[in-house]
């Protein structure tokens, strides 16, 4: 008789325990799927870049690496790609805004996984890695050079290496020492005086410089982090050991990241980016010229002679679908900037497209508060996160840097 009583009360207890969630697993199946989709082991192999036939040619990557670190690739011989993209600092410079020959208005972007981007720069004003590499070379605030001078420099310093990869250099004997359609008034005049054939020859050498640098940059890929080790263990049902185990605060941060805080909406996939552009109400920097983000970049990428539709693209036009189906107008482009990858972010302050925030706490506070944009419409909504929740998000973000 007593047995029956015991059984009944046991049943009631089990029911209560189930109701109370004593046996609740740490993550739901939906959360587990999302976490698995963020792990580095889901990153597919790097696709071929048919617009750059030298993209996977080792000699091109080797020349590109030489050029990347060569301060000779600038007016005055003081600035290289690596001045801002520092090899021991995730290929960025820890500054709010990049400093080359002059002071720029934008934060240097890190390069891990850059070859996987469909668009380049914070506003996407270039559509290939090789077209991107050409832009700082002629920007008066960055390397401040001009394409005629670069062609002469390549012939003089790297002529043999260049010709082994790209074939014979053109005759540059009558090409002015300094000329570019984007340079000083004198350089523009010199460029406009050049015969079309000669201008195209110089443009081709210039494009090949970009293709070599891009070939080198393709080798820069993100590395495994504590988060990835945790995620792989979670996916395989193994109990995370050692540094792969997350603290309760890191688990809360991860749950918020993929849940209530909506971070994963844009920071998705193994690179933590949707490769798209969003207005998130990030405030402008006082005293900088107006910066309208993606809305101004659309015209720039269309006008770029080195874009995918241009004559310097290798392969066929089927590679140009991003440019072909690009959004060209609309309110959503105003002050829209690229979603940056969050891998390694915790160890590369300051943040945002012009270094507006100096800590991750400030970044998370911005997204929690969601102040309206000074221009255009912010896509984010206030989250009302508690101090504890904001700290947990930062703790989780740090696992992407360890």
């Amino acid at each position: 008789m007593k047995r029956l009583l015991r059984l009944a009360s046991l049943s009631a207890l089990v029911a209560l325990a189930l109701l109370g969630g004593c046996d609740e697993p740490e993550f739901s199946d939906a959360e587990k799927n999302t976490i698995a989709s963020l792990a580095l082991n889901t990153l597919p192999a790097l696709k071929a870049d048919t617009t750059n036939q030298y993209a996977d040619v080792p000699a091109a990557a080797a020349l590109g690496s030489t050029l990347f670190f060569d301060v000779g690739m600038s007016r005055g011989g003081t600035v290289s790609c690596s001045t801002c993209h520092k090899i021991d600092r995730q290929f960025q410079d820890d500054l709010p805004r990049a400093v080359g020959v002059g002071h720029t208005n934008r934060r240097t972007m890190p390069l891990a996984g850059v070859a996987r981007d469909p668009w380049f720069f914070w506003d996407g004003r270039r559509d290939s890695l090789w077209a991107q590499a050409l832009t700082p070379l002629e920007n008066p605030l960055e390397q401040a050079g001009n394409r005629a001078a670069f062609a002469h420099y390549i012939k003089e310093r790297f002529g043999e290496r260049y010709e082994r990869i790209f074939g014979p250099l053109p005759d540059l004997s009558t090409v002015p020492a300094n000329a570019s359609p984007l340079g000083t008034e004198a350089e523009k005049a010199a460029w406009n005086a050049m015969p079309a054939r000669q201008a195209e020859d110089v443009n081709r050498v210039f494009a090949n410089i970009g293709k070599a640098i891009a070939a080198f940059e393709r080798s820069i890929e993100p590395g495994q982090t504590r988060f990835d080790r945790f995620a792989i263990d979670l996916a395989t049902g193994t109990k995370p050991q050692g540094d792969a185990a997350f603290s309760p605060e890191e688990i809360l941060g991860l749950k918020l990241f993929i849940g209530k805080a909506n971070c994963v909406t844009c920071h998705n996939g193994p690179r933590f980016t949707d490769n798209s552009f969003h207005n998130t109400g990030v405030p402008p920097v006082k005293d900088l010229p107006p910066d309208r983000g993606r809305v101004d970049a659309v015209a720039q990428v269309q006008a770029d002679p080195f874009n995918c539709f241009g004559k310097f693209r290798d392969g066929d036009e089927s590679a140009c679908r991003e440019l072909r189906f690009m959004v060209k107008d609309g309110q959503q482009l105003v002050r829209a900037y690229k979603t940056p990858s969050l891998r390694g972010a915790a160890t590369r302050a300051p943040y945002m497209h012009a270094g507006q925030f100096s800590t991750l706490d400030e970044v998370v506070a911005h997204y929690s508060k969601a102040a309206p944009s000074v221009e255009g419409v912010s896509e984010i909504h206030p989250l009302e996160l508690s101090d504890r929740e904001r700290a947990a998000l930062v703790a989780f973000l740090k696992t992407l840097s360890e």
Partner: protein, 162 residues
């Protein structure tokens, strides 16, 4: 639980005095059932009454029947993909020579489409290739088609849940 049930059955007819025990056992079993049901409910994917996600429907004014399917059968988040929009009259005849424009976005996210898809090819039998479709995040997407053909102009909205 099985054992409890067996006990209940084997002790049938044990007398009026034990009726309270049956009631207690019954209560326990009921509580267990409620617990199990609660867990099932809490862990089941919540299918809140979402938007109509049918891939085939009448256009707004009933001029055409439109179907919209990914050309390769699967949706891959973050990739540029082509879809097929098939247009038929209500009598089932293929609609040819239609002019189609595409718009859309995420109604809950304050943003439009990340690309501008276009009708790029007519594939015959009322089928149009809509290329440049890209879904960059999960959630509720809408694609709106404005369709102009000999029979007149109409529009249709497809909801896609990712």
């Amino acid at each position: 639980m099985l054992r409890a049930a067996r006990d209940v059955i084997s002790r049938r007819g044990a007398g009026l005095a034990s009726i309270w025990r049956y009631i207690l056992a019954g209560l326990g079993l009921a509580a267990l059932l409620v617990g199990i049901l609660t867990v099932v409910y809490l862990t089941a994917p919540h299918s809140a009454p979402g938007p109509d996600t049918s891939r085939s429907k009448k256009t707004a004014s009933g001029l055409f029947v439109a179907s919209f399917e990914p050309e390769r059968g699967v949706i891959r988040q973050g990739e540029l993909q082509s879809w097929l929009l098939t247009l038929k009259t209500s009598a089932g005849a293929p609609v040819e020579g239609a002019a189609i424009t595409v718009s859309g976005g995420m109604p809950q996210h304050n943003h439009g489409l990340p690309t501008s898809p276009q009708a790029t090819d007519y594939m015959g039998a009322g089928r149009y290739r809509i290329d440049g479709v890209k879904f960059t995040m999960s959630g509720w997407w809408q694609l709106r088609f404005a369709i102009s053909a000999a029979a007149g102009s109409d529009s249709v909205v497809f909801n896609i849940l990712l």
